[in-house]
């Protein structure tokens, strides 16, 4: 379109310019040695559908690149050593204080290297954004059912990336060896020691002796900059590869079907948009880092097992685990003969473990319940899968309550409440919150579906009141055009599974369970509007 408005002569008709000759030569040179033209042909015009929510994954990807760049800069200055040194840098209040080389080099990076503080803050803010955007991206995938066949494996890989991102976050948080990160490690030490039978030894091996020892920073450094990033990059590569193979999901906009992909091609529109978006994400992170301070370790001081300040908070993504620890009621510790079983530590670990396992395998659970083996490339509107959306809402509330619990002390001091009451309320919410969220969400979804059905059949209220000859007043309904209606009526419909005997004439326990689960999933449903419904006379009036 735009080329037709360009009045300049099309250069290709003329003698090739020097630049064109060079490009042609270079392309030929590379292709003759790599046959890369095949890749360009395959991928160059690949189609990407557009929707604002599809950019959440992009945010994650781009913030990861920012993390790699800023992190690499910091490795040139950071010393991953817990050898005690006397600080002798520019920050006067800590001069002469004994601290680890890790802490001292982090202070040097902040106070004696131009741009060092900026890079530290870029790294930290980007890390927070990285985990946050992965979380939101996962929620988008979940609530639109984009994890269904053929994307179950990619969901699991994405889940792995989320866990790796948190592990990266925690190991990175521990490296400066300041008071806060040391207390974080102390809690990890306590957690690990609470694992039955092997806990004491795992802690001993992790810290290279008694806590805190002089090894953990060096070991976490290797995990943080080598092992975890290597696994993360590999998993990310597979994640992207499967995205290309499976092609992106799309919403049910007119013209889009389960069998096509409608959108913009990689070259040039998507490349420009996505490439531009990378720069925007990078720019926003740098802007935040230049305006807002994060993790000012010099105000905390070096790690010392004795002091701690009140109201300290972990980075946000560790909050749910810290909150889970706080919610355990008093007295959860058993003595089994000579052994001590720390249920107050072990139960939260197990509950969190089960929670994330359920998240990881949810696609397989739902596939088993629905028995649906078809490929799905149309993203659901969350309301059109009420039970799934309600399960998601319950999971989100469970996570959110634990997350809020990590700030129970701040909630108490800020709102002048007693910490005991705050804790008891959050404990109750941990159980009640997901139940309430489930029920409310399911009802809201069904109500929205009913509203959609109503609008698809009867149109919008136009606000135009008409008086009929008989004296009756009616409000005229404006009908939707077929494009608008399509968005409301195009969704999958399921009904509960009938319990039938299998080929051997038997009804297995597994099938019984599945029928019950299917009934729970699909019992309450609003069927999509059919052609007959629309053509039925009497609609579109009153």
């Amino acid at each position: 379109m735009s080329t037709s408005t360009d009045e300049r002569p099309a250069t290709s008709e003329l003698e090739p310019t020097r630049g064109q000759r060079f490009t042609g030569w270079a392309a030929n040179y590379v292709d003759e040695r790599t046959s890369i033209s095949g890749l360009v042909k395959e991928l160059g015009r690949k189609i990407f559908p557009d929707h604002w929510s599809f950019m959440l994954g992009e945010v994650a990807l781009y913030s990861f690149i920012v993390i790699l760049l800023s992190g690499t800069f910091m490795t040139f200055f950071f010393q991953a050593s817990m050898v005690p040194v006397l600080y002798d840098g520019s920050y006067v209040p800590l001069k002469g204080i004994e601290m680890s080389a890790a802490m001292a080099s982090t202070l040097d990076l902040s106070f004696d290297i131009r741009g060092g503080l900026l890079m530290r803050q870029v790294h930290h803010w980007a890390a927070l954004l990285f985990v946050a955007s992965i979380g939101l991206h996962m929620l988008r995938i979940f609530f639109t059912g984009a994890f269904r066949k053929p994307r179950e494996i990619n969901w699991v890989i994405g889940f792995l990336l989320f866990i790796l991102a948190m592990a990266e976050g925690f190991t990175g948080y521990s490296l400066p060896d300041d008071l806060l990160s040391g207390n974080g490690l102390r809690i990890i030490d306590g957690l690990v020691k609470g694992i039955p039978i092997i806990g004491t030894w795992i802690s001993y091996l992790l810290f290279g002796g008694e806590f805190p020892g002089e090894d953990v920073v060096g070991r976490f450094y290797v995990l943080h900059i080598l092992l975890l990033p290597a696994i993360l990059v590999a998993a990310l590569g597979v994640h992207m590869l499967l995205l290309v193979i499976n092609k992106h999901t799309q919403f049910a906009v007119p013209g889009r079907t389960n069998d096509n992909v409608v959108g913009v091609p990689i070259m040039p529109v998507f490349a420009a948009k996505a490439g531009g978006f990378f720069f925007i994400i990078f720019g926003v992170i740098v802007l935040i880092a230049s305006l807002f301070q994060i993790n000012p370790i010099w105000t905390y001081g070096p790690y010392d097992p004795s002091p701690v300040s009140a109201g300290t908070q972990p980075d946000w993504y560790i909050g749910f685990a810290d909150g889970a620890l706080r919610l355990v009621p008093p007295g959860w510790e058993l003595e089994l003969g000579p052994f001590t079983l720390s249920l107050n530590v072990f139960i939260p670990v197990v509950v969190l473990g089960l929670f994330i396992v359920v998240v990881a395998i949810y696609p397989f659970i739902e596939a088993w319940i629905t028995g649906d083996k078809r490929e799905h490339h149309i993203a659901d509107r969350p309301r059109n899968a009420p039970t799934r959306t309600a399960i998601g809402a319950a999971g989100v509330s469970f996570y959110a309550v634990m997350w809020a619990a990590a700030s129970s002390d701040l909630i108490a001091t800020h709102f002048k409440l007693s910490i005991e009451n705050v804790t008891h309320v959050i404990q109750a919410l941990l159980i009640l919150g997901p139940i309430i969220a489930y029920i409310v969400t399911k009802r809201v979804c069904l109500a929205l579906q009913k509203k959609d059905r109503e609008i698809a059949l009867h149109g919008y209220e136009s606000g135009r009141i008409v008086r009929l000859p008989g004296g009756e007043y009616i409000e005229v309904h404006e009908q939707l055009d077929e494009y608008e209606r399509w968005k409301l009526v195009s969704y999958e419909d399921y009904k509960p599974l009938m319990l039938r005997p299998n080929a051997k004439g038997r009804i297995t326990a597994g099938e019984r369970l599945r029928a019950r689960a299917s009934n729970w999933f699909f019992e309450d449903r609003i069927a999509p509007v059919t052609r007959t419904d629309i053509e039925k006379p009497g609609h579109g009036e009153h």
Binding site: P212, P254, A272, D322, P330
Partner: protein, 356 residues
């Protein structure tokens, strides 16, 4: 979209139907209705102003270039800021360096981003393109070929036939990583950690000293209602200072003797109402650093466990189970507070072998 699966919509068709025989039992509980609303096809394309008006297109072009020029300005500004805002250790210089350098880089990056996105949205071809999907599974022919590859491999190697080779190979591969596991044993020293966790620097006659200065404390210094953070004498010179401190940190308080509920066997653990308790939380090991003078409660700021000092540090709230261990104390001939012995039980978080 159910109507994609009914085979009546020429525009739709379905990935699944290409493998019709396979999916007989697999549509699960989906309701496949032949009566669903038809996909109306694409909405008509709406041209943008720049598509229709060359003058607008040229204006957009200038706008995109302006963003890119702005980016160059941002980059140059950042380099200039790096030079003209040196840091000399004062907070102000660091703030300026961080701020101006950051603003320059942010501008350089954001402007490239805005320019590129604006270019793609206003000037690049705005038509949606359509690409067909194909079933993810390989075609039957491909799958047959793949199976053939495996069969040939099996036949030519005899992997399936020669069971002795197969089983010993699997055995060898299973056992081969074990040396790697063993290699990690020396992540920690050879000695058993359990005895280490059960002893601290405290011993009979060790003076209680102030944290962090290490000066000894006279019983007469500890007034009613005061609290001291305490470390054992000699800790600051210890080779494993932090490891010892993580076990030996103590909180010292003085209450009225009649307020203390002392259990049998602990009558001489306090000295005239002066009591010493481990500062390391029995939950996961944070320092229980907050002493509430009025209620005589100790609060752990990490997970809010509370301990009642008048009742020998029993847990009254929070996830901790065990009371904080008490350090038996008395005074020496010069009036300084000293320990009567080490703690009589392990301090800090519980661990499996704690009672062994």
């Amino acid at each position: 979209m159910a109507n994609d699966h009914d085979g009546t919509n020429p525009r739709a068709g379905t990935t699944v139907e290409k493998y019709g025989e396979h999916n007989q039992p697999t549509a699960g509980t989906a309701v496949v209705s032949s009566d669903s609303v038809q996909n109306p096809g694409f909405e008509p394309f709406r041209a943008r102003v720049a598509d229709l008006d060359p003058a607008v297109a040229r204006a957009q072009e200038r706008r995109v270039s302006a963003w890119f020029v702005l980016s160059i300005i941002g980059s140059v500004f950042a380099i200039v800021a790096y030079i003209i805002f040196p840091i000399d250790g004062t907070p102000g210089s660091i703030r300026n360096n961080n701020f101006f350098l950051g603003i320059g880089i942010a501008l350089a990056l954001l402007a490239v981003g805005f320019g590129a996105v604006h270019w793609s949205k206003s000037l690049m071809d705005g038509h949606d393109l359509v690409e067909q999907r194909h079933g993810t599974r390989g075609t039957d022919a491909t799958r047959e070929k793949a199976i053939e590859v495996f069969e040939l491999g099996n036949k030519e190697s005899g992997f399936g036939r020669r069971t002795l080779i197969r089983r010993t190979l699997i055995g060898a591969l299973v056992v081969s990583p074990l040396p790697a596991v063993v290699l990690f044993r020396d992540l920690a020293p050879a000695e058993n950690p359990v005895p280490l966790l059960k002893q601290t620097m405290w011993a009979k006659g060790v003076r209680l000293t102030r944290d962090p200065s290490g000066t000894p404390i006279k019983a007469s210094d500890v007034t009613l209602g005061s609290a001291f953070h305490v470390i054992p004498d000699g800790l600051n010179e210890s080779e494993h200072k932090l490891e010892e401190k993580a076990k030996a940190a103590v909180l010292l308080m003085r209450l009225k003797p009649q307020d203390l509920h002392v259990s049998a066997g602990r009558e001489d653990w306090n000295y005239d109402g002066i009591i010493a308790y481990s500062k390391i939380c029995t939950h996961v090991g944070c320092p229980v650093a907050l002493y509430e003078q009025q209620t005589h409660h100790l609060l752990c700021p990490c997970h809010q466990s509370q301990f009642d000092i008048t009742h020998e540090a029993q847990v009254i709230f929070g996830p901790a189970k065990r009371p904080l261990p008490q350090l038996p104390i008395t005074v020496d001939s010069e009036g300084y507070l000293i320990a009567r012995s080490d703690f009589t039980e392990p301090v800090g978080p519980s661990f499996w072998e704690r009672k062994l």
